[in-house]
Symmetry: C2
Subunit: 159 residues, 2 copies
């Protein structure tokens, strides 16, 4: 299965070329978007809590694609920083429900605004056509992200 066999005439080589420096691009995007104290996972989790409300540790674990201990530790850090809090579920006393705090919500809002400004500055040097292309592809990528099997099997690419 190669790009060429599916991508139609002309699309293959372009795509391969862009893919070549994808890691570099990712790192630059990352630097562009996480200059405060939150890791990608921490930010994503906080956004999720803000958007969809309180959730169990196990739900967050599955959604964020980390191990359960990793999520427990992340929540501990968020709680220590006052951004989230643990609650108990009376119906099932094994469960820990995680909720965002007002401070956490503030941070999300500030991040969102800051990023929007930064993005807007960047997009000053981009034509309307290109901007439309970026918007479309972001939506497509989000769609794909949603349908992607959550666990990217490591075996799959090691060989």
């Amino acid at each position: 299965m190669t790009i060429r066999s599916e991508a139609g005439p002309g699309a293959g080589p372009d795509l391969l070329r862009t893919v070549t420096s994808f890691d570099r691009l990712l790192r630059l995007l990352r630097r562009l978007t996480t200059p405060d104290g939150l890791s990608l996972t921490a930010a994503s989790t906080l956004y999720r809590l803000e958007e969809f409300g309180a959730q169990r540790v196990s739900e967050l674990t599955a959604a964020e694609g980390v191990t359960q201990p990793g999520m427990t530790q992340l929540i501990t850090r968020l709680e220590r920083d006052g951004l989230a809090e643990r609650r108990s579920d009376p119906a099932d006393r094994r469960v820990v429900v995680v909720a965002i705090t007002p401070a956490g919500r503030d941070l999300v809002v500030r991040r969102r605004r800051a990023r929007a400004e930064k993005l807007s500055a960047l997009l000053a040097g981009v034509s309307a056509d290109e901007r439309a292309a970026i918007e479309l592809s972001l939506r497509v990528l989000e769609r794909l992200a949603g349908t992607t099997p959550t666990a990217t099997d490591p075996e799959e690419m090691t060989g």
Copy 2:
């Protein structure tokens, strides 16, 4: 400076909406692209060595946007794993020149191929128009990445 003030009619809200879940998207992209043992920085550095040839530690430090100790340590790990090697510069004996090894080159080639396949599988569910949009926006983002000030000042977004 808001999105709305520059983005033209209709573009602003869309962009803000996509930006909202940008962290989540980034994490998914990252999971999609680094399932082997390389960190983003390690992969980027290796790609750079493969693409542009041997370079000094200080050059790599500047290019990758990490601290000099961080790069020294990264090179030590790459060297330990047989992916890169240190050489000395006879003209200036303070300098350490880093080069990719055949094993490192192999890994880069394998990663590139694996990612291309994965991407191709993903793009199976994407229309030609959308695919064209993705290609265009990747090129635009790369262009922007190139012109972006390398050091994203942390002060800028903490407040």
